[in-house]
């Protein structure tokens, strides 16, 4: 078991997502930053979809019970293992009573803790990702115990990788969405000619942007939405749906983020600047 001594601001279990149930309104969920998931699970030679902890804003304090191996990725939160600083994107061996804790958030927003073999909480509808009304809990609390497999020895093929930091990238690549054609020239100019700032409402369901584009009164019937769908509200606001976003919506879906752009955006917080680029 991994014992949660302090939960941090918002810490959840996530894997690659819960697929195949959108027709009954169940969102995909899963890690916000797929790139970080791939790196951390890759270093540990886990299956791609092995469950990790997604750590938002401020990190938890965690105590290990058995020997195993871990890798951290994503946001830089000054982690320490038994008070010794450790770094992201590197494999560490941990043992009984070892304490992992986090310091100040330096870059990004969401950090990931992967463990050899993945966390072993119960799968619900094919996934371990926390989501309201699906999993018993929606975030870890103090005294939560998270099961994992003891892993006495492991010789990683690669122990550490250096990746280009992507936290300062601000350009999000987008494809045209189903209602792209409704956009007028002056709206297009605003969308692609300006920078936007992340508004105060930004979470696993959606990111809202501060600047408005131009009002519209296009009516459509409720239809499917996806993680990364950019909706244009009648008042001209842009809402970017994320992994826990609702599966259907009634606002025009003007653009669609690429998978990489979703990962980039998931490391942004209120006031951060982004711009959109059509591919």
């Amino acid at each position: 078991m991994l014992k949660v001594l302090k939960p941090g601001f918002y810490t959840t279990i996530q894997d690659a997502g819960r697929f195949g149930h959108r027709d009954i309104g169940v969102p995909v969920s899963g890690v916000m930053d797929n790139r970080a998931l791939a790196i951390a699970n890759g270093l540990l030679e886990n299956e791609e979809e092995a469950a990790v902890l997604e750590i938002t804003m401020t990190g938890p304090t965690l105590e290990f019970e058995h020997n195993t191996y871990i890798a951290l990725s994503g946001a830089i939160m000054n982690p320490t293992l038994n008070n010794t600083p450790i770094i992201n994107n590197k494999v560490y061996r941990v043992g009984a009573k070892d304490i992992l804790s986090y310091g100040r958030l330096d870059k990004g927003l969401r950090s990931y803790l992967a463990i050899k073999g993945g966390f072993q909480t119960k799968k619900v509808l094919g996934s371990r990702s926390y989501f309201q009304a699906i999993t018993a809990v929606t975030s870890v609390t103090d005294h939560t115990e998270i099961p994992y497999l003891p892993w006495p020895s492991f010789e990683p093929k690669i122990t550490e990788i250096h990746i280009d930091p992507y936290f300062d990238e601000t350009v999000l690549e987008v494809a045209k969405g189903p209602e792209y054609e409704m956009l007028l020239d002056r709206q297009l100019e605003k969308i692609f000619g300006n920078e936007f700032k992340v508004a105060k409402d930004y979470n696993r369901m959606a990111y809202q942007l501060m600047e408005t584009v131009a009002e519209h009164n296009t009516n459509m019937l409720t239809s499917a939405t996806l993680p990364g769908t950019i909706q244009l509200t009648p008042s001209g606001k842009l809402i970017i749906l994320m992994k826990d976003g609702q599966t259907t919506g009634g606002y025009p879906r003007i653009l669609q983020l690429t998978d990489y752009a979703i990962a980039l955006l998931s490391q942004k917080k209120m006031g951060d600047t982004i711009s959109l680029k059509l591919i």
Binding site: F19, G20, R22, I24, P178, T222, S223, L226, Q246
Partner: protein, 245 residues
């Protein structure tokens, strides 16, 4: 031959959208569901496909790889006329108990006044009608129901409530529906349904499918309390009628 053909639109790297005319029309919905069935049975057997029908659209998502839009649209348009060979999916009429007691129907008095109806007449109209499930979304198990009589159309509340209880039955615009879990919401609440539409403890968490029919029937406060207990221990019975039988 069908009246309508879909327009195919690109929806990012992993999805395409098929769109029929912008109308709430049961013929369109049936057309979509039959094509969905055909695709499932014959065309999209590869892992990773998901199909989301809703009103006048069908979204196809492939999580494992990118879709070649040109080639795939071409395939879809070729397959579309062939779908007639598939038997449509089974459809059911679900009869759901609703208690229209004022304790649950917290907007009942106001709505009845606005619509110039007595409360019994409003309940009568709401329960007499059979509704079609045009989509499921917004929350797990939230049904978009079509077929509300004009006499029950009422604007949504000017200020949404921060908390609407699970099971609340609401009216808003041309829609009626049930909140499958506690959530914020702006619908006018007229009653409470004891049967959970979405229950993760069931093997099939959501018994309703798009294309099914819903009819409400009024129950007393005493019946509500009994159903509530039955539902908590998971022994409520569902009234289901096979529409194809």
């Amino acid at each position: 031959m069908r009246k309508f053909s879909p327009v195919i639109r690109s929806f990012g790297m992993h999805a395409v959208l098929l769109e029929w005319p912008n109308e709430v029309d049961e013929d369109i919905l049936n057309d979509i569901l039959q094509f969905c069935q055909y695709l499932k049975q014959f065309c999209l057997k590869e892992e990773g496909w998901e199909m989301i029908p809703s009103y006048n659209s069908l979204t196809l998502v492939q999580k494992n790889r990118e879709i070649d839009f040109q080639a795939f649209s071409h395939d879809l348009l070729n397959w579309y006329p062939l779908k007639e060979e598939t038997a449509p999916a089974q459809k059911f009429l679900w009869r759901l108990p609703v208690c229209y007691d004022l304790d649950f129907g917290i907007d009942l008095i106001e709505v009845a006044e606005n619509l110039s109806l007595s409360i019994p007449k409003l309940v009568d109209l709401h329960t007499k009608n059979i509704y079609t499930v045009y989509g499921i979304g917004f929350l797990p198990g939230f049904m978009y129901l079509g077929g509300l009589p004009k006499s029950l159309e009422t604007p949504r509340k000017a200020t949404p409530r921060l908390k609407v209880l699970k099971g609340s039955v609401g009216l808003a615009g041309r829609q009626t529906g049930i909140y499958p879990q506690e959530s914020p919401g702006g619908w006018n609440i007229i009653g409470s349904c004891t049967v959970p539409i979405f229950d993760i403890k069931r093997e099939n968490p959501c018994f309703v499918n798009v294309g099914d029919k819903i009819q409400f029937y009024a129950i007393s406060r005493a019946e509500y309390d009994l159903h509530k207990i039955e539902s908590e221990v998971g022994i409520y019975k569902l009234e289901k009628i096979n529409l194809d039988a």
